[in-house]
Structure formats: structure tokens, C-alpha cells
Amino acid sequence: CNPTVKVEAPDKPIVINLNVKIEQEVRIKVDKDVESLVNNNPNLF
């Protein structure tokens, strides 16, 4: 995963943005299988 951080000047409140992505391996695999399912059945999807 690749969290990103930005820091701004102090005259305004400090703004902190934090993005966290919780990945599951199961999902990644399923994602690929679904992709091939969709692309291998052109008349169905």
C-alpha cells in the first residue's frame, strides 16, 4: 500500500491528510478471475 502525506503552512491550522487502504489478498485474486470472466464472455457482459 502507499499512504501519502501533505503538510501546509502554520498560519492556518495544520492539515493532515492520511489515506489508508486495507487490502485483502483474497480480493485481489478474485478481482482477476472476475476480470477474465467478464472479458471471456463478450455476449454476456
Binding site: 478474485v30 472476475v34 470472466l37 467478464v38 472479458n39 454476456l44
Partner: protein, 89 residues
């Protein structure tokens, strides 16, 4: 093929839950027929894949919806957003 023609004609759209549906209410007979056929076949392949992967079938279906909307729909075709409105790509 029939599905693409119907989608191009704006008669059928992709739903986020992985199935197709009529964009206008009470569609003509042949469209209704096509919708139930396509959905029945999709249900079968979703159940099969979900069974193999041990993942809830609705997840497979919803993922297929994302892929289909992203990769199969051509501009101008309809899909439904999270708040249930029909939107043109």
C-alpha cells in the same frame, strides 16, 4: 450481439449488483426476455465462480458490474450509480 445492441439503444443498463435491467419502466416483451436470459446466465457463472473461490456471490457479481461498466460499456451506454440513478457513460 443482442446485449450490445440493446445497451447501445439505451434500452438496457448495467446495475451495480452485477445484473442488467430496463432503463425505461415496463420495457417491450423482447427486451424483458433478453434481460431475464442474460441475468439467469450471469447468476449461474457468478455462483460457479463464488463457489470456487469461497467468496460471497454478491461480491463476485458487484465486482463483475464494476469491470463491465469500466471495460465493456461504450460511451453513451447506461449504468446505475450508487444512489440508484441511471447515468450515461
Amino acid at each position: 450481439d443482442a446485449l450490445d445492441d440493446a445497451r447501445a439503444a439505451g434500452l438496457i443498463g448495467e446495475r451495480p449488483d452485477g445484473y442488467v435491467d430496463a432503463v425505461q419502466p415496463n420495457p417491450p416483451g423482447n427486451i424483458q426476455q433478453l434481460i431475464s436470459e442474460i441475468n439467469a446466465q450471469r447468476r449461474k457463472v457468478y455462483q460457479q465462480l463464488a463457489g470456487e473461490k469461497g467468496v460471497p456471490v454478491e461480491e463476485v457479481a458487484a465486482l463483475a458490474a464494476e469491470k463491465t461498466i469500466a471495460q465493456r460499456l461504450k460511451p453513451g451506454m447506461f449504468y446505475m450509480n450508487s444512489s440508484g440513478q441511471w447515468v450515461q457513460k
